[in-house]
């Protein structure tokens, strides 16, 4: 039990350590001097033009048909991993069981495909 918790601790430590590494790199760079504030320097670079308008606008993502199907389809992996682990031991039952499950999901995919969800809108 403690073994598992210790491993999570290592992972947490790795993440924190990485943050430390990045911060120390930033500190080294800061030691070499700050960036001068000059006009035009901090405007996002658009190949030689100053495009100053904010671009945070309602963005038309053309893949939303895929995204809708993905949201639902993605859920299948939650069931598939535990199933995969016991697959060999359960044998044919597992194959049929998951076969039915995946067939059901695949039907949804086919429906989406037939309705034009699987393309750029």
């Amino acid at each position: 039990m403690n073994n598992a918790l210790a491993q999570y601790g290592v992972l947490l430590g790795l993440a924190v350590g990485t943050v430390g590494l990045v911060l120390s790199l930033y500190a080294a760079a800061r030691a070499l001097g700050r960036a001068r504030r000059e006009s035009g320097k901090d405007v996002p670079a658009t190949s030689g033009r100053l495009a100053r308008d904010p671009v945070w606008v309602r963005y038309h993502a053309r893949y939303y048909g895929y995204a809708l199907l993905f949201l639902a389809f993605d859920m299948e992996m939650a069931y598939m991993y535990p199933w995969a682990v016991v697959y060999k031991q359960e044998g044919l039952v597992a194959l049929l069981d998951m076969g039915v499950f995946l067939a059901i999901l695949f039907l949804g995919l086919l429906y989406g495909w037939s309705q034009g969800a699987l393309r750029r809108q």
Binding site: R58, A67, L68, L69, G112
Partner: protein, 175 residues
Amino acid sequence: MAVITLQTFFIALFGIAALWFGVVVFRTSSMMRSALALLFSQTALGAMFLAMQAEFLGVLQIMMMATEMSIMAIFMVMFMMDPGGLGEMDMTHQKRLSIAAGVIGALAVSGVALFAHWGPTATVAPAAAEQIRGLGTELLGRSMIIFETAGVTILTAMIAATAVAMPVLQRKKTS
């Protein structure tokens, strides 16, 4: 015997992080920040599950929510008036009622948690590898019908979402 162990500390730490990110969701006017705050709230929950030694569920939560909440972010940006939050627009109504409802709800549930008799608590959780196997056996055993029903639910959702969302004209053109 209420001892504050390291485990409790981390459960509380990630719990507080989840709550804090949850509050941020409704306190920022940038839609992107709002969506990613929800993401990190869910990630913190996943970490909390890990601290509770539900390894499979924790990792699953961390993984699923990253992609699902990112997709939520794009939909937020698609459909909100001012996704950058530059206008500091107020998008709420019946604020007082909602706060009251939220507080009362939270208090009521915590009250139940505090005063209910939960009985003895288990101190030892099964090992992580065992959990996955156990869940797998459960899926293929007693819960098989539940599992297949979940499949049907997902299918329904896919059909419903597609049927509602895809434009009618295009639907006639394809297939």
